[in-house]
């Protein structure tokens, strides 16, 4: 015993010394800018899309032009997989030395990344940029936090109603013009063709459910004086939640299957011919075209409450931003402008079908490609955006809204209680985010 104690003491001291020498506190990175060099290599991370070649071509053309007009500047583009983007970008914030100068990022992440201290404030440059004047206001909102701009919109994505023309013809019905008609049509189809979901909905499909809430005048959250309060349990929001959750049931989409579905699962169900209608984005077009329903479907804007109105859609999409830690700020901002400029976006639309964020470029695109017409219509009818609070990322990641929908459709809680609980969780997140 004595001996082991005699040994244990120095060993413990050694271990303690080692610990104090290596690290007392967990690591914190310094993401502040390292100067502003006018030459050198700029590193860019863009998302790797399904079928990425056309995107690469457009980007390469923009990069070539940039390198020609900027003597001594070189650009290195890396395409990162969408699935692991969150980890990659977090890692970039944690290790500024190996971080890129520019990143593409999903627009719902803007506020979170700003709070993390990862993105550079480019308000001045964005304001002085002539092309930015035509930026769609909702797209501009998606790069703005507390009145400051943290990047440039790259493209927008909105969702609309895909429906099967052959099924509708068969049953002698027209595309629904109001939300009530949408719900009754869905149930009618399921009654006539029980092996089809009338409208494929998902308990985890937050962005497909939001238009229902917004169409009834509900809001996810309201802002006053910089702090957000959840609006998910307001009277209006609850009406929207009721409308959406009424689509889960044996008369349309049985909760045993549909409660767990997310957006992709509903689009897959439609593309494989298991659903007569689905809420899909302009970006889902390729997936549907590749499915069994090719040539047998059409798209209309998702109807709102009043007959002939359009339900406000969620304005998704990606932005390109400059990292705070860049050592080439001026160059990086110039490259951001050329990657998100009108010319590149117009070419990107032709190559990938990504909707441009400039109103005039978008109009031109709609003239060229008729399939985007319903999406453009939806955008111009007024799309909406999630609260630009850093708490949103956390609310999204902790599945607050999917949990609420799933609690309702599985019969665990009624709309009032589920929405109160969701509001409580959202408010806690808003409060924690400050």
């Amino acid at each position: 015993m004595k001996l082991s104690a005699r040994i244990a003491a120095p060993v413990a001291a050694l271990v303690l010394a080692g610990l104090t020498a290596t690290a007392c506190a967990p690591q914190t990175s310094d993401t502040s800018a390292q100067g502003d060099e006018k030459t050198g290599t700029l590193r860019v991370w863009l998302f790797q899309e399904v079928g990425n070649k056309p995107k690469e071509k457009v980007v390469d053309a923009a990069v070539d032009a940039f390198e020609k007009s900027h003597e001594g500047a070189e650009v290195e583009i890396e395409y990162i997989p969408v699935d692991t983007r969150a980890q990659r970008i977090k890692a970039a914030f944690n290790d500024p030395k190996s971080a890129p100068d520019l990143i593409e990022y999903g627009n719902t992440d803007t506020a979170g990344y700003v709070k993390d201290g990862g993105l550079a404030d480019v308000t001045e440059e964005f304001g002085a940029w002539d092309e930015a004047r035509d930026t769609d206001p909702i797209a501009k909102q998606s790069v703005t936090v507390d009145g400051k701009v943290y990047g440039a919109p790259f493209f927008v994505g909105v969702r609309a109603l895909y429906y099967r023309t052959d099924v509708f013809e068969d049953l002698g019905i027209d595309a629904p013009k109001s939300q009530a008609e949408l719900i009754s049509t869905a149930k009618k189809i399921h009654r006539a063709k029980p092996d089809l979901y009338g409208l494929a909905v998902g308990g985890a499909y937050t962005y497909g459910a939001m238009p229902f809430i917004w169409a009834h005048g509900g809001e996810l959250a309201g802002e006053s004086g910089g702090t957000y309060t959840s609006g998910i349990n307001s009277e209006k929001s609850r009406k929207g939640i009721e409308a959406y959750t009424s689509l889960f049931g044996d008369d349309n989409c049985p909760p045993a299957k549909c409660a767990s579905m997310g957006g992709n699962a509903t689009v897959t169900a439609f593309a494989s011919g298991k659903a007569a209608m689905a809420i899909g984005g302009d970006f889902s077009h390729a997936a549907v075209e590749a499915g069994a329903v090719k040539g047998k479907y059409a798209v209309v804007p998702l109807p709102g409450v009043a007959e002939g109105s359009i339900a406000p859609a969620f304005a998704g999409g990606n932005n390109i931003g400059v990292l705070k830690s860049t050592a080439h700020r001026t160059l990086a901002v110039d490259l951001m402008k050329s990657l998100t400029g009108k010319k590149t976006q117009a070419e990107m639309f032709d190559a990938m079908g990504f909707l441009p964020t400039y109103t005039d470029v978008l109009d031109n695109a709609a003239k060229k490609q008729p399939f985007v017409a319903p999406f453009v219509q939806t955008l111009s009818a007024g799309a909406k955006f999630v609260p630009t609070s850093p708490a949103w990322g956390q609310i999204d990641a902790s599945l607050v809204l999917p949990t609420m929908f799933q609690e309702i459709v599985s019969g665990r809680k009624d709309v009032a209680r589920a929405s109160d609980d969701a509001a409580e969780k959202m408010n806690a997140a808003f409060a924690a985010a400050g």
């Binding site: 001996l3 060993v11 914190t28 310094d30 914030f93 990862g118 956390q394 599945l399 949990t403 599985s410």
Partner: protein
Amino acid sequence: MTTHTTPYKPPAAGAPPKGGAPAVRRPRRGRSVSPARRSGWTPWLYLLPALVLLAGLLVYPIYQLGLISFLEYTQAQVSGGEPTTFKGFGNYTALFNDSQFWQVLLATVVFAASCVLATLFVGCALAVLLTRIRALPRLALMMAALGAWATPAITGSTVWVFLFDPDFGPVNKVLGLGDFSWTYGRYSAFALVLLEVLWCSFPFVMVTVYAGIRAIPTEVLEAASLDGASQWRIWRAITAPMLRPILVVVTIQSIIWDFKVFTQIYVMTNGGGIAGQNLVLNVYAYQKAFASSQYSLGSAIGVVMLVILLAVTLVYLRLVRRQGEEL
């Protein structure tokens, strides 16, 4: 693991009837190395590399885990957007005031306990079966078990989900369940995951217990039966006590594994099931720590898990010890 195999080695080593030789040598060595000091130092010297490794790989991470759990440490602090601040027990109070945490904890304990019992029962039963069957069926059973053991958890879970798929799964077709969705109900989802956990963890129990049974010297068993002991008495007085160290290891391993189940729940119930009904502590910690970047809260959950597992293991070890003295 290796330390636990030693208890049943002595009978084998002591079996050769050369007991006299070491007995003669031992005192001689004792005399030549006069101070007891040296023999006290040497074990520590031999242990040093392992201790250093353990300190680096085990103590240091646990120390960091504990430290982070007392701080406000989210992505904003990691990447330098905001300064790191000391929160005291703030993360723990937040955790203990979260009603979901208690639900998840209860679900985890019940789920892990059922998994451990099921695994031990199936593993031991099949180990006994292995000793009673011929070579060919034994080989087949061994291969099947090793196959299940070698399958990565992600692959196994994905295959199981497919097998039980309401639309395309063969299981529902064979059982005539129509389009019954296993993952929709809370208990059927847990049952499905339990089956998968059982499938991939019984081989460890089976192989270990089987090895243990084979290591029991047949002479002892023969002697007992010659003395007229019944099968039950042989099991109680010979087999079970000789297997005890193995059963202890296997039980503790199972408790630790099943308490920390992550992949199966995450893959099979899509990250915790409908409205989070199938969350277990590890998936819950992942959601808090990584998905929503609240590293400090996730660390607090980790510390709580560590304490629970240590407590369970210690209590279990004491129980086994006491039983051993009584026997």
